[in-house]
Amino acid sequence: MGGEVIHALRDVSLKINKGEYVAVMGPSGSGKSTLMNLIGALDVPTSGDLVVNGLNLSGQESDTLADFRNLTVGFVFQQFNLLSRTSALENVKLPLFYARHLGSINAGERARKCLQQVGLSDRMHHDPTQLSGGQQQRVAIARALVNQPSVVLADEPTGALDTKTSVEILDLFQQLNDKGITLIVVTHDPEVAEVSRRNLLFRDGRLVDDVSMARR
């Protein structure tokens, strides 16, 4: 309590290339979620530089960060975080609503395509409560993809799903990565670590291991 300063992350120097599929691992409190929040511009670093897609996120205006979150990254959460009593289609359209630079695009059309991509063409007008956990997570993934981001950030995406559904979601991730989308997945799940191409291991706020896997 009091004035004690806690460093969630320190002395981390890291480069992730375009098109990589990275699993971020580590015990609770190791700083892996903080890393993801920083990359996704949900949080700003107290010190140090963080450049994503050419933009240095340190010291940016909140509007710039909002636009960055809108256009450059897509989030997938453990608890899906879908708007309740709102159809799958409307949920997927949400980021487009805040997309200022896109001008007049057909939001409905684009959202439909993304739902097709995650295999939910027949569930577009269902509310989240009418969907299974796996389907809800697919809606969330479609939402993350709708603004065609450079990076998709996923925080324990399979944490709330059973094994079989997890495998489906991981297959979907694989397909996305094959299309060139950079994937950064925070996870406890060894399955995820296995399918990714690079594992980052964090402990007590420090990057302790960085292992690249052979391409399968």
Partner: protein
């Protein structure tokens, strides 16, 4: 971000909590409805007052003989020397700005036509009286100065007389008897309706003032053969009536040879001022009621603020998510602000409907005059929007300042 979309989001959010939205709106509905009813009633009675003043003539002054004071003892009303034809002549000579001057000598007497009879007010007047008191001759003509001077036995009759004495038949040219003196009806007076005190103004017969003195009132006694009762006069409209009033008082004191410092033994009255003053209390009350209604609106606004705070807390995760997918702080601020304003505007719409309906009912089923003015509806809607912005701002700002991480983590 388009306002249209923001409004549609607000509508969806309000519909998802329809009952709560309605209950929150209720405060605004009641506030707006009562503002409209109160203001309508108060402007209705104000309009009534103005009409009464118009009927009376806003530039009219009355001079009445007052009380005399002898050795510190006040006599009764009218105990002072009466006003006379001489006073009228001198007033006319002295003040060029008088538009019309007339004496008025009233009494009450039975009037007979054929085999019907009716007791009514008989007023002896000068020809100017018609103009000064804003009567209109409906049929026939006014008195001539010659008739006034010579004491001609001619009469002008009010609508009530036509109804009661002539059974609604044409009366011009007919002969009636007032106190057994035969008179010829030479004209009829257009209907005036009721006075502010609820007495019919049309139950009246006018005769030349000299005729009244000689034949009817029988009060040329007390050694004043040319008394005129009260004097009514109208002042040029471009003239400040209050200054005219003071000048009149000054002149009347001279005429009546009152020593400086002695009390006036006459009174000059400005009736429109009198009515205004008499009704000041009622318009103050009206304002007070409107203020109370405005307080109801403020209370409604506090209800809005309360529910918006609850809504922000409930939707913390939603806010976090919106921030995560790219909403700017201003977007969140606008979302909740628009929601509060929408709530108020929908509420004010129902409030206006109910308020107008209630005003309509008051008008139909009570004596209270109601004047619905269109501007007040827009003012009401505008103030509801203001309430929405004012009381919605704090919760909306609170929402917009949430940290995205904490909001997303919120359980």
């Amino acid at each position: 971000m388009e306002m249209f979309k923001t409004i549609s989001i607000a509508l969806v959010a309000l519909r998802l909590n329809a009952l709560r939205s309605f209950l929150t709106m209720l405060g605004i509905i009641i506030g707006i409805a009562s503002v409209i009813v109160m203001v309508s009633v108060s402007s209705g009675s104000k309009q009534e007052i103005e009409r009464a003043i118009d009927r009376l003539g806003s530039n009219m002054l009355t001079i009445r003989p007052g009380t005399s004071t002898t050795g510190g003892r006040h006599g009764g009303a009218g105990s002072a020397a009466p006003l006379t034809e001489g006073d009228i002549t001198r007033l006319k000579e002295r003040f060029g700005f008088l538009e019309g001057v007339s004496g008025s000598l009233s009494t009450s007497a039975p009037v007979v036509f054929g085999n019907s009879n009716w007791t009514t007010g008989i007023i002896g007047i000068h020809a100017d009286y018609i103009k000064v008191r804003q009567w209109v001759i409906e049929e026939g003509r006014n008195f001539t100065d010659r008739e006034i001077r010579s004491g001609a036995k001619v009469a002008l009759v009010g609508q009530d007389i036509i109804e009661h004495l002539f059974d609604g038949n044409p009366s011009v040219g007919e002969r009636i008897r007032i106190k057994n003196v035969p008179f010829t009806v030479i004209g009829t007076l257009q209907e005036k309706g009721e006075s502010t005190f609820g007495r019919s103004l049309d139950d009246v017969i006018f005769i030349p003032i000299s005729t009244a003195r000689m034949r009817v009132s029988g009060r040329s006694s007390r050694g004043v053969p040319d008394m005129v009762g009260n004097i009514y006069l109208t002042v040029d409209l471009n003239r400040d009536i209050r200054i005219a009033e003071e000048e009149l008082v000054e002149f009347m004191r001279e005429l009546r040879k009152l020593a400086p410092g002695a009390q006036d033994d006459f009174s000059v009255r400005n009736f429109s001022e009198f009515i205004r003053a008499r009704n000041e209390t009622s318009s103050t009350l009206g304002l007070l009621l409107a203020a109370t209604a405005a307080i109801a609106l403020v209370v409604g606004g506090i209800g809005i603020m309360n529910i918006m705070l609850v809504s922000v807390t409930e939707r913390t995760r939603e806010i976090g998510l919106r921030l995560a997918v790219g909403a700017r702080r201003r977007d969140i601020l606008m979302q909740f602000l628009v929601e509060a304003v929408t709530l108020c505007l929908i509420g004010s719409f129902f409030g206006v409907v109910i308020g107008v309906g209630a005003g309509e009912l008051v008008q139909r089923f009570s004596e209270v005059p109601v004047l619905l003015n269109i501007p007040i509806i827009f003012i009401a809607i505008g103030s509801a929007a203001f309430v929405g912005i004012f009381f919605g701002f704090y919760p909306a700002r609170k929402a917009s300042l949430l940290s995205p991480i904490e909001a997303l983590r919120y359980e």
